[in-house]
């Protein structure tokens, strides 16, 4: 039985703080994106536009297409139908390489990394656009690269472990290093697929605070897939409820209607309201 902390999300009363989309060209614009077989689509008619500095959370049940939509935006798979604009330019096979230079991506599958001896410094360096340059062009001796790597590690509290072997880190530490790799190129658009996986609650809150800060101070646009709406609610600008299509795109302070939860998660769930009788809740 699933339960969703909808009331907590709806508790905000502030107005939407994202810039007016009509005046500012969106950083990302999806129009009528569909993916998968026509009869049984994985994504159906997704349209979305986000401006600079917007922080959007995507929630939805397993198999809703959350990771698929990030893969499409990252140019890893082609939609069956629809159009994607990144930074005001159409995402095609030819423009892909140039556009992806301004994008950071943290995915969920990390199968092959643990059999290779790689230092934390080198893992983060892999996020630099210049990393794949020939071996006769050293990466680490360039001061600006060194500064960027240290800055990214500092942001995720991992600078002390810069010279450690990546294989010897804990699951949570590895995830923070991967996040530093996504941040090191200072992207305009950051895609995060369950970034808080393997993080403890303290690190989880630190992560969301950092992401909020990146949106506010550096105008980074972030799209983050998460399961725990209660955890992200105080940090994001909007939440998209996805299950094949976007059932609802709630802005900050907006209540997600109860029927939307039922449409997404089915009847086997209850929407609960938090009040003073809740055990273990912090009502501040």
């Amino acid at each position: 039985m699933a339960s969703v902390d909808a009331a907590q999300y709806g508790a905000f009363t502030t107005t939407v703080n994202s810039p007016n989309l009509a005046l500012v060209a969106p950083i990302i614009s999806l129009s009528h994106i569909s993916f998968g077989a026509k009869k049984d689509p994985i994504l159906q008619d997704i349209s979305l536009a986000l401006s600079a500095g917007h922080f959007m959370g995507i929630i939805g049940p397993n198999g809703a297409g959350k990771s698929t939509i990030l893969s499409i935006i990252a140019g890893l798979i082609q939609p069956r139908q629809g159009h994607i604009d990144l930074f005001g330019e159409c995402l095609t096979r030819f423009s892909r390489r140039k556009l992806l230079k301004n994008m950071g991506y943290l995915h969920q599958l990390h199968n092959s990394e643990l059999h290779m001896p790689v230092k934390v410094r080198d893992v983060v360096a892999m996020g630099l656009t210049e990393y794949a340059s020939p071996l006769w062009q050293p990466i680490h001796s360039a001061t600006h690269h060194q500064v960027a790597i240290e800055e990214a590690l500092q942001r995720v509290d991992m600078l002390d472990l810069i010279s450690r072997d990546f294989r010897h880190l804990s699951g949570g530490q590895r995830q923070r290093v991967r996040l530093a790799r996504a941040l090191v190129r200072k992207p305009k658009l950051l895609l995060l697929d369950e970034p808080s996986a393997a993080l403890d609650s303290k690190q989880q809150q630190k992560l969301y605070t950092l992401l909020r800060q990146l949106c506010d101070t550096e105008q980074m646009t972030i799209i983050m897939v998460e399961h725990d709406i209660a955890a992200i609610t105080g940090h994001v600008d909007s939440v998209a409820c996805l299950n094949r299509s976007i059932h609802y795109h709630a802005m900050k302070g907006e209540q997600i209607p109860e029927d939307i939860w039922h449409q997404m998660y089915g009847e086997n769930m209850h929407v609960i309201a938090h009040d003073t009788s809740c055990i273990g809740c912090n009502h501040g």
Partner: protein, 284 residues
Amino acid sequence: MTPAASVAIMVDFIEQFFHSSVMLDALAPALFIAFVSASISVMILAHRLSFLTVGVSHASLAGMGLAVTFSLPLLPTATAFCVGIALLLASLPKKRGITEDTGTGILFAGSMALGIILVSQASRNDVDLFGLLFGNILTISTAEWHWLLLIGSFITLIFLWLARAWWSIAFDPITAAASGLPVSILNLCLYGTVGLAVVMCVKLAGIVLTTGLMVLPATCAWLWGKSLVSLWLLSIMFACTATLIGLMISYAYDWPSGASIVLTLCIMFIISWGASWLTQQQKR
């Protein structure tokens, strides 16, 4: 025997070795092949392509069989055939029931069968079967040396150019693709380069023992290296040292050169593994 007498015998043996024209002619090509195979060896381990080297090296027999049957130059024909087989394996449709190891197994067996039939039809004077199977660097001709020099230099250049991109793909192919790297093309280049390197190793270690030369140097280095460059340098050190010692053993006891080199590499791995285990125990 006193230690001084042992040293004198050793010095005398080394002098004889370096005055032997056969050994001197073989030394430079053998060390060059060791250098090239050690470089590619790092990528073979990172991308887990050991079985590919088994497949391609055995497939080279068909290339050589074709060369003998149609009176074509032996090494260039084998080179073209090996690269063709490696590229075919790289472009096999992986999601249609043919996994990479199955595909390699099929091509390996098929090419080997074709090679055996073609070679069996050739006259005994045309083919040095023992040399093909187990390698014989001592019989290298000037034309073969020039050919090896050409493809070896090409492999080294490609390695220096693409090593970091290949390393990044081995570590995390999804992030590499999302960074804008053309992963499929780079994989195709890697397979082609492995095919080229296999042909070089067949001359030194033969069809049967080539995998040892392609896998063992980096395996020894893997226990000590902390980054791509340190792994590469250590792998070269292990391969060149084993080649020199192997050739000396081959000269001293009249053993086959390829087998002596591969056996030396195996012993080096055991020593290296033992030393690494001891070091880890001491740290605890």
